[in-house]
């Protein structure tokens, strides 16, 4: 495989063209997103079944959540999705500096999301609305409201973990972008992180109504 000029540094040896490499990367990412959907899906299934078993307890328990904070978090995450998409778009038109700005905006919004989440969790720890045997709150009647909080902490906790992973990856992108790795010919990593970030936002779009609005 002669190392010709048409063979830039980022094109891996076993791909015949950049298009093939990009399509493969995207397909790989989409399949990874499928595994994420099914990973969260298990929890959504547990939610569906316990919701169906005791709908009234779930409804009572969801009143303990503050939908205003949830709503604010939803808006924050949608905006971060927007800034991520714009970051990719600016790379597509070869404006690396603008892309970095949007990536920083995405991280800022993600941190805001985590901070709001921290307040919500702190309040619950303080009041005792905790999963399983740590549940000591007495404000909600019904035989087993702790199932609702077990599911709440697991689903939003796992989602929060994914947000933090996303922040780490975007930071790594910013470093690579500043080093000049990306241009309109090669921005695969940014696009892949974008897909991941939009999925994290998409999962929160489902979590928000299920826990905060309907319960």
């Amino acid at each position: 495989m002669a190392d010709s000029a048409a063979h830039p540094r980022w094109l891996q040896h076993h791909f015949t063209s950049a298009g093939q490499q990009r399509e493969s990367a995207k397909l790989g990412m989409w399949i990874f997103l499928v595994t994420e959907i099914l990973f969260f899906g298990g929890l959504f299934c547990a939610y569906a079944i316990y919701h169906a078993w005791n709908p009234d307890i779930f409804h009572e328990a969801h009143k303990a959540l503050d939908w205003r904070l949830g709503g604010l978090n939803t808006l924050v995450l949608i905006t971060s999705s927007l800034t991520m998409a714009l970051a990719i778009r600016s790379l597509q038109v070869n404006k690396a500096k603008l892309a970095n700005g949007y990536l920083w905006a995405t991280i800022l919004l993600a941190l805001t999301f985590m901070v709001i989440k921290y307040f919500e969790y702190a309040h619950k720890f303080h009041v005792g609305q905790l999963p399983g045997k740590y549940y000591t709150y007495t404000g909600i009647e019904g035989t087993s409201p702790h199932i609702f909080f077990s599911l709440y902490f697991m689903m939003t906790g796992l989602h929060g973990l994914h947000v933090m992973i996303g922040i780490g990856v975007i930071l790594w992108l910013i470093i690579r972008n500043r080093r000049g790795d990306f241009s309109n010919a090669y921005y695969n990593p940014v696009e892949m992180t974008g897909l991941y970030w939009h999925l994290v936002d998409l999962i929160w779009i489902y979590l928000f109504p299920l826990f905060y609005l309907v319960g």
């Binding site: 079944i49 045997k133 921005y187 974008g194």
Partner: protein
């Protein structure tokens, strides 16, 4: 399968004008406000359905435009919807079990805790609603009833050595 493109030149992917992104984002904001507003009104079970419909439209918007599914190879959309189909199968068929357990015998479905007494003191099968038996426990006259009573006991005052210590005690 893969579209052959030169390594250089403008990226092959579809470049959306910024205006489209902003429109999609504003649509998502509006939908969020709608779903919050609708949730204030109590439609009973319908609340869940409406919330899910709105959430799904938001999800489709994010997937189609932010994740470029609309412009990309249909294979990605196939995998993406495929995962939701498998998840749907998982939830629906499991609920065929969890929601239909009391079809033949009502006492099979609900946890024992609610059914205080199946037998009365003389051991005759006593079909009555759960709470009537709450009061007159009295001295556990008989094994069957007693097994019920101390199951109850385990839940009520919690934590002592009913059955194997850690499985059924639930440390309150």
């Amino acid at each position: 399968m893969s579209n052959e493109h030169s390594a250089h030149g403008a990226s092959q992917d579809h470049v959306m004008p910024v205006r489209n992104y902003l429109m999609v984002a504003s649509a998502l904001f509006v939908l969020t406000v709608i779903t919050v507003a609708v949730a204030q009104v109590d439609f009973g079970a319908w609340n869940l359905v409406v919330a899910m419909v709105v959430a799904t439209t938001k999800a489709v918007l994010v997937a189609m435009f932010f994740m470029h599914l609309f412009y990309d190879n249909k294979l990605f959309a196939a995998f993406f919807t495929g995962s939701f189909v498998i998840l749907g199968i998982f939830i629906v068929i499991t609920m065929f079990d969890t929601m239909e357990r009391d079809r033949l015998y009502p006492e099979v479905a609900t946890p024992i805790r609610e059914h205080a007494i199946i037998y009365d003191d003389e051991g005759k099968p006593l079909k009555q609603n759960a709470h009537a038996g709450e009061g007159e426990h009295g001295e556990a006259a008989e094994h069957g009833d007693a097994a019920m009573e101390h199951e109850e006991g385990a839940a009520a005052e919690g934590g002592d050595e009913q059955g194997s210590e850690d499985a059924t005690s639930g440390g309150h």
